[in-house]
């Protein structure tokens, strides 16, 4: 395993919200083009972990961390251009968000910030991202209506389209399905299966079955500590390495 390329590496990460230690010295690796699942009950530190990786954690006052987080070998805290780092990483939050502008502008936002000017180019990007997010057919006739008027499931797919618009190499999804209907969830899961060929996907979820369906490898995070991380077949089998994993996966607690 030593010479396999590594996309993200976390070493001995301690993360603090003011005095409270949310992550207590965790270490793990994520490989390119895999779907990496992170499961665990609420307040395990899963969201903080994602936000530390794309460095939006620093927008919350009182947060700090020690340890190392590297993306493509570069320490995230020391990159020259943090905005480029964030563009490399796509992020989908738990609650669907449509920016207060047209659907078209929602998806065109990141490319325009990046300097794209040609209308033809923008049109093409918008269509491609909406198609990839399985939203194109539903909105192609109303691209110039407000993005905030879409349903929850549609807004989540819009968020994915927004995330795809800046061509990320990593896509992070933070409990993307908790506020949307099962049909939309299914459609997005199909999307993720197609996207894994182009990028690395981190899937944080409290739906154990979802991780079982999608993830190649899964990490079980509990109260800030890694209980177990392994191939999904192992985690969701009858004999994972840790009893706690078995208990959680089978609903005995959590």
């Amino acid at each position: 395993m030593v010479d396999q390329p590594v996309k993200i590496e976390v070493r001995d990460l301690h993360l603090f919200y003011r005095q409270h230690e949310a992550l207590k010295g965790i270490s793990f690796t994520i490989f390119p083009n895999e779907i990496f699942g992170i499961i665990g009950p609420a307040q395990s530190g899963k969201t903080s972990l994602l936000r530390a990786i794309n460095r939006t954690l620093e927008f919350t006052p009182g947060t700090r961390y020690s340890g190392s987080i590297t993306v493509d070998g570069q320490e995230v805290g020391k990159v020259r251009n943090v905005y480029e780092l964030r563009r490399k990483i796509g992020m989908v939050a738990p609650l669907p968000v449509g920016l207060p502008m047209t659907i078209y502008d929602n998806v065109a936002f990141a490319p325009r910030m990046g300097g794209m000017r040609q209308k033809g180019e923008i049109d093409a990007t918008v269509e491609q991202c909406l198609r990839q997010a399985a939203l194109w057919d539903e909105v192609k006739d109303r691209l110039h209506t407000l993005g905030t008027n879409l349903s929850g499931g549609q807004q989540q797919r819009l968020t994915i389209a927004r995330a795809l618009s800046h061509q990320p190499e990593i896509l992070c999804l933070d409990e993307f399905s908790i506020a949307i209907d099962p049909v939309s969830t299914m459609r997005i899961e199909e999307v993720l299966k197609t996207l894994r060929q182009q990028m690395t996907i981190i899937l944080v979820t409290n739906l154990v079955q979802q991780a079982r369906r999608l993830a190649d490898r899964t990490m079980f995070l509990f109260e800030g500590k890694i209980i177990e991380v392994d191939r999904s077949e192992v985690i969701f089998s009858n004999k994972p390495a840790q009893q706690k994993t078995y208990d959680y996966v089978n609903g005995i607690f959590g």
Binding site: N81, V82, Y83, E84, G115
Partner: protein, 298 residues
């Protein structure tokens, strides 16, 4: 974006942030500047020759006397505080009463309209209030009280009260709104009438905010210039009754600054009065802020 522009991104952002920060702290800079420049104009006399004792204890204010110049401001200080406190005497009960009414007893549709009226009341310029004091209030007082002169402490106090009421109402209403509904519900469940609930539960709970509202009302009254200049008359002495004319600190500056030669003693003393006023309102504002913060600690 070309790669060279990409490198500049963090730098551009940092520069913009610096500029915004500068605008953010500008308020501090301006308050500081006000103090510095006002003090500067009066500093020379303040350190050489200003007799603080006479200033605060003597009622003999004769800055333009040819033979014996005296700067006793006691009558002016009394003027300021007598008008302000009399106005508060009127404004506080009415203001708090209206705040309670709007917050607790008022039907919702009327509420919006009332708040708009209060807002408009607050917008009336002080010179227009002064004009009202000069004309309407003047004749009203002369008729109602058979007073020889309608420009006096009472006139100024009523005008100031009308000017300060909107602040007391709006901040007071905010303070009452901040009290959680659970307090109200608990009191009513115990059998209180609405009035008892207000008097025994809400007012004490909103105590800090209401106190701050009153303080800010006082600040407004003490600092008011044009309205009192036009409504209180021109007599510089300690008033013996509310129907007597008085002169406030603010009105004195406004009335005499135009005549005092620049950088003369008189001119500098007027600036020193300015510093006194600045200090008074500064202290009031800080106190009100501290009192309001007291809520945050609960």
């Amino acid at each position: 974006m070309t790669s060279s522009r990409r490198h500049l991104e963090p730098l551009k952002e940092w520069l913009i942030e610096r500029f915004i920060w500068l605008c953010g702290v500008s308020a501090i800079f301006f308050v500081f500047a006000i103090f510095v420049f006002v003090f500067r104009e009066g500093a020379e006399y303040f350190f050489n020759g200003f007799k603080a004792g006479e200033f605060f204890s003597s009622i003999e204010w004769y800055p333009t006397s040819r033979t014996h110049v005296r700067y006793g401001a006691l009558a002016l200080i009394t003027g300021t505080f007598s008008v302000s406190f009399l106005s508060m005497f009127i404004a506080v009960p009415f203001g708090l009463g209206a705040a309670v009414f709007i917050s607790e007893f008022c039907p919702p549709r009327l509420k919006e309209g009332l708040k708009i009226v209060i807002e408009l009341l607050a917008a009336i310029p002080s010179v227009v209030w002064g004009f009202i004091g000069l004309t309407i209030m003047n004749s009203l007082i002369v008729q109602l009280f058979n007073a020889p002169l309608g420009l006096n402490m009472l006139n100024g106090a009523i005008i100031l009260a009308l000017m300060s009421v909107p602040i007391i109402v709006s901040i007071g209403e905010d303070a009452l709104k901040a009290v959680p509904d659970s307090y109200r519900e608990a009191a009513l469940a115990l059998g209180c009438t609405r009035w008892q609930m207000v008097f025994r539960v809400l007012l004490p709970a909103a105590r800090n905010g209401l106190l701050a509202a009153v303080l800010l009302g006082i600040g407004r009254a003490v600092g008011e210039t044009m309205a009192v200049l036009m409504a209180t008359g021109h007599s510089i002495r300690i008033p013996r009754g509310v129907l007597e004319p008085v002169r406030t600190l603010t009105a004195t500056i406004a009335a005499e600054l135009g005549e005092a030669p620049v950088h003369s003693e008189h001119y500098q003393v007027l600036f020193i009065i300015g510093i006194l006023l600045f200090t008074i309102t500064f202290v009031i504002n800080i106190t009100a802020d501290l009192i309001v913060r007291g809520i945050g600690k609960k």
